[in-house]
């Protein structure tokens, strides 16, 4: 298996074999990332393909800066592809409605989520309404700031923070329900 740096260098020069290796190494992670945002397997596959094609076409803009930088770059690019698509599909226009909704008040013990399988956690994120899911993913998992989120999906920074609080509350409730259902 090639190193990240070597793989990036070969992909920049359009090497087909290296592109295949890139796909084999990162496709399933990017597929899960897309699914986290769109909560639909077909759409997630479609977006992952688009992101991979875009990455392969724009490798000249990638700069290697240590281990993990290739995935970090692919992740940013993929999130941008996903956000663009969500915008086109108008799935992010529900912000005012979402912001008007009252959060619930369950209070799950934070530590217990550690026992829950990753796929169950992913399903909980996928079950969030589109805007909450987007903000939660961008802020908590993909490391965007409220300012970046606000710019990306056309809301205010305050709005982003408020949506995030509601997403957290909803997820706590989902964790509680899961724990009750599974008798933990």
């Amino acid at each position: 298996m090639r190193t990240e740096q070597e793989l990036a260098r070969l992909c920049t020069s359009g090497d087909r074999e290296a592109q295949g290796e890139l796909y084999a190494q990162y496709a399933s992670r990017l597929y899960a990332l897309c699914y986290r945002y769109v909560a639909d397997r077909d759409d997630a596959q479609d977006l992952m393909h688009d992101a991979m094609i875009k990455a392969m076409d724009s490798f000249s803009s990638f700069t290697y800066s240590g281990d993990g930088s290739l995935f970090a770059w692919l992740r940013r690019l993929t999130v941008n592809v996903v956000i663009d698509r969500l915008r086109q599909m108008s799935k992010l226009r529900l912000v005012p409605i979402d912001m008007a909704m009252e959060p619930g008040n369950p209070d799950a013990d934070d530590d217990v989520a550690d026992d829950i399988p990753a796929q169950a956690l992913l399903d909980m994120v996928a079950a969030l309404p589109s805007v909450r899911r987007t903000v939660f993913n961008m802020y908590c998992i993909d490391g965007f700031s409220h300012k970046e989120i606000a710019d990306a999906i056309n809301i205010t920074e305050k709005g982003s923070a408020s949506i995030l609080a509601k997403a957290r509350t909803q997820l706590k409730s989902a964790v509680n329900d899961y724990l009750k259902r599974t008798g933990r």
Partner: protein
């Protein structure tokens, strides 16, 4: 104690989902379609640039010939 979202991050950050069957084939054929479309766009663009250029050259030749004939 870990925050709930730290646990979500830890578990989902590098999470891998099993790809649908035939995923690679569908990816490469999609990529090939995109490349063909891009090539076609490029060739349409070159035609769109070449036609007015050729017309301008042709017009210039006609004008020069006209001038030469009138001078004679």
């Amino acid at each position: 104690m870990k925050q709930m979202e730290d646990i979500f991050k830890e578990r989902l950050d590098n999470y891998e989902m099993k790809l649908p069957s035939m995923d690679q084939q569908s990816f490469w054929s999609r990529k090939a379609v995109r490349e063909r479309a891009a090539r076609r766009r490029r060739s349409y663009l070159s035609i769109a640039v070449a036609i007015p250029a050729l017309a301008a050259i042709l017009l210039a030749i006609i004008l020069i010939m006209n001038l030469l004939i009138t001078n004679k």
